[in-house]
């Protein structure tokens, strides 16, 4: 399932098939050709940014409060974030332990530049959001994959983590809830991984950007709150997903003070401070009503059920996502490579879905399907997808015929 065999796939897709990030962008650009396409690809919430956030930003702009802030972020927002981390995540942090980043992705880049020397290894769960690749390799680091699987709901196995440690291992990356799988790393497993990190003197990078979206009674837990972890954990998060404000490009990280100071130095020479209006938006998001998040969660829960039912009806299997916005769907029963299937779904059903290979080379039998469309559009997408999946299911039709 890991090689492309369909000559009908356009070169713009096949040429970048081995680069997960470029593959996703190539499919997005291709989908722009289809006027009626339903996008279940990118992780950009379709819901509007809450009005109280917009109102605060409007006020800041009207009052000309848009001057540059310190590189690490405006003090009142860093204080509010420290308070959030203490209250919600039980991290013992102060303002000096916080930095604002130009989105979570930049946070990753900054911390890898600050942490890694050439040859250092980072343990990364497989599958993964492939933007980690660029962040790690551009700092000279090397990724070492930690397998996760459907049977274990894509939870991270402590024994798999420990087995991958070498003398060059510097950090363990934890993504919970996970993009692309929707799996979460449970508190019990996090406690075991924390013990491993302490035993081997490793840093933990905890990407918690989907922390607010967990389903069916599952709980998010921050590894940085565990005893002995505060000095070895960098916690990444952002406003984009939680408050449906991806365009503001506002993320944040918590870490020991000296590490934050070093990250700020890197940020000063790579992108400068986060846009001031975005920081006002972040402050409004944190200090205003949290009711929109509860409403978002209710909406996503409903959509998740619609998508799960539709995929089951198509004969596709998945591990029920415990968090985030995605269904990591096993498409191997269709019998064709996921990149081909994604292309065919776009071409014949006008539904944009990312192939599993957009998240790791071993995942040619999986699709990542987002739930970031209205329930009606999700139902329509499922209706369009079903005949295509059935047509190409093993033995029915060879792609291209």
């Amino acid at each position: 399932m890991n090689t492309l065999t369909n000559p009908n796939i356009p070169e713009v897709v096949s040429a970048v098939a081995s680069d997960g990030t470029q593959l996703r962008y190539a499919l997005m650009e291709l989908s722009a050709q289809y006027k009626d396409a339903i996008a279940l690809g990118r992780g950009d919430p379709d819901l509007p940014t809450p009005t109280h956030i917009i109102d605060v930003v409007k006020g800041a702009i009207e009052q000309q409060r848009t001057a540059p802030t310190p590189v690490a972020g405006m003090p009142e927002l860093r204080q509010a974030l420290a308070e959030k981390f203490r209250r919600e995540n039980r991290l013992p942090v102060e303002e000096e332990n916080i930095i604002l980043t130009t989105g979570g992705q930049e946070g990753l880049f900054l911390l890898m530049q600050t942490l890694l020397d050439p040859g250092d290894e980072v343990l990364v769960p497989d599958p993964r959001y492939t933007s980690y690749d660029e962040a790690i390799t551009s700092a000279g680091g090397r990724m070492v994959m930690i397998p996760t699987d459907h049977e274990d709901a894509f939870n991270l196995r402590p024994e798999a983590v420990e087995a991958a440690i070498t003398p060059r291992t510097k950090a363990i990356l934890i993504v919970t809830p996970s993009n692309p799988t929707g799996g979460i790393v449970t508190e019990e497993r996090l406690r075991q991984i924390a013990e491993i990190a302490i035993k081997h003197n490793l840093i933990v990078i905890s990407d918690e950007i989907y922390e607010k979206f967990v389903y069916d009674g599952w709980k998010h837990f921050s590894i940085g709150s565990l005893p002995g972890m505060e000095e070895r954990t960098i916690t990444l998060n952002g406003f984009s997903k939680t408050y449906a404000m991806t365009g503001f490009r506002c993320g944040f990280a918590a870490a020991p003070r000296n590490f934050i100071q070093a990250m700020a130095k890197v940020k000063a020479v790579t992108t400068g401070p986060v846009a001031t209006i975005s920081q006002w938006a972040g402050l409004a998001a944190l200090t205003g009503t949290q009711e929109p998040i509860r409403e978002f969660l209710r909406i996503y829960s409903e959509r998740r059920k619609v998508m799960m039912n539709g995929l089951l009806d198509m004969g596709l299997s998945f591990s029920e996502p415990r968090g985030a916005f995605f269904l990591w769907t096993n498409s191997s029963s269709v019998g064709i490579h996921a990149t081909e299937l994604s292309y065919l779904l776009l071409k014949e059903a006008q539904v944009l879905i990312f192939p599993g290979t957009g998240f790791g080379e071993n995942w040619g039998g999986y699709l990542r399907i987002s739930i970031l469309q209205t329930t009606d559009l999700l139902k329509e997408a499922l209706e369009r997808m079903k005949p295509v999946v059935e047509r190409y299911r093993a033995g029915n039709l060879i792609p291209g015929q």
Binding site: P68, T246, F248
Partner: protein, 236 residues
């Protein structure tokens, strides 16, 4: 976080030697047109990711701005960045490799950090020890210094970073010499007018797509409302 305020292992070696942070403190009055454009974008709900290269209207403006220098430019060659800082870093990171040399005949302040982070060297004068890969020039550099260096750039196949965010460009642009154009990347910024909004751009060269892809891997896209606000400048 009590106790020793440090991770248990040292920071990356590249951190030592990074320049101290120079915080900006300027607070110019933002033009009404910028404010109106930003408010309009907020009203229209433009608070989600933009296209990776940046919004078309702003790229068109940059492209037309560059055409005033009698050079070829099209919106497809333009990427909107988080200020000129991001553009300079992306260019140096993507076009150079470890131990490569940047020739900077003028003030290197704006590229020192990026050069340090990418393990590249900056020299002020040509010498025999260093093999130059990129020429960093700005409108502040004297023409009698720049012109012979451009001739060298043509001969040696150097990249040229033309930083228009540093000083007001009048008529000159290195891409006016057609043979140089594929290796010239122009950088500009809206920071003089709207400094806290973090909008800049990079344009041109045969590497425009690859530079754009690297920018995407760094920050995905530039702040949406800031980009729409930039349209306000374009319209005045």
């Amino acid at each position: 976080m009590s106790g020793p305020q440090t991770l248990t292992r040292p920071l990356a070696t590249r951190i030592a030697g990074l320049p101290e942070i120079l915080e900006r403190t300027d607070t110019p009055m933002i033009p009404e047109a910028v404010i109106d454009a930003a408010l309009e974008a907020l009203k229209a709900g433009r608070t989600h990711y933009t296209d990776r290269p940046g919004i078309l209207g702003l790229r068109k403006w940059v492209s037309e701005h560059l055409q005033q220098f009698n050079i070829a430019s099209k919106p497809d060659d333009v990427t909107i960045t988080c200020g000129a800082t991001e553009a300079r870093f992306v260019i140096i990171k993507r076009l150079l490799s470890k131990d490569d040399t940047i020739l900077c005949p003028g003030d290197p302040t704006l590229i020192e950090g990026a050069a340090h982070l990418t393990d590249t060297k900056i020299i002020h004068d040509l010498d025999q020890q260093h093999r130059v890969k990129l020429l960093y020039i700005t409108p502040r550099d004297a023409p009698d210094i720049v012109e012979p260096l451009l001739a060298q750039a043509e001969q040696q196949g150097w990249w040229i970073l033309w930083d228009m965010s540093s000083g007001q460009a009048k008529q000159f642009h290195p891409s006016q010499k057609a043979v140089l154009a594929p290796r010239v990347v122009s950088v500009g910024s809206f920071s003089d007018v709207m400094p806290g909004w973090r909008v800049g751009w990079m344009a041109g060269s045969e590497m425009a797509d690859k530079l754009r892809a690297y920018k995407q891997s760094l920050t995905i896209c530039t702040t949406s409302i800031s980009q729409w606000a930039g349209i306000g400048i374009a319209e005045t």
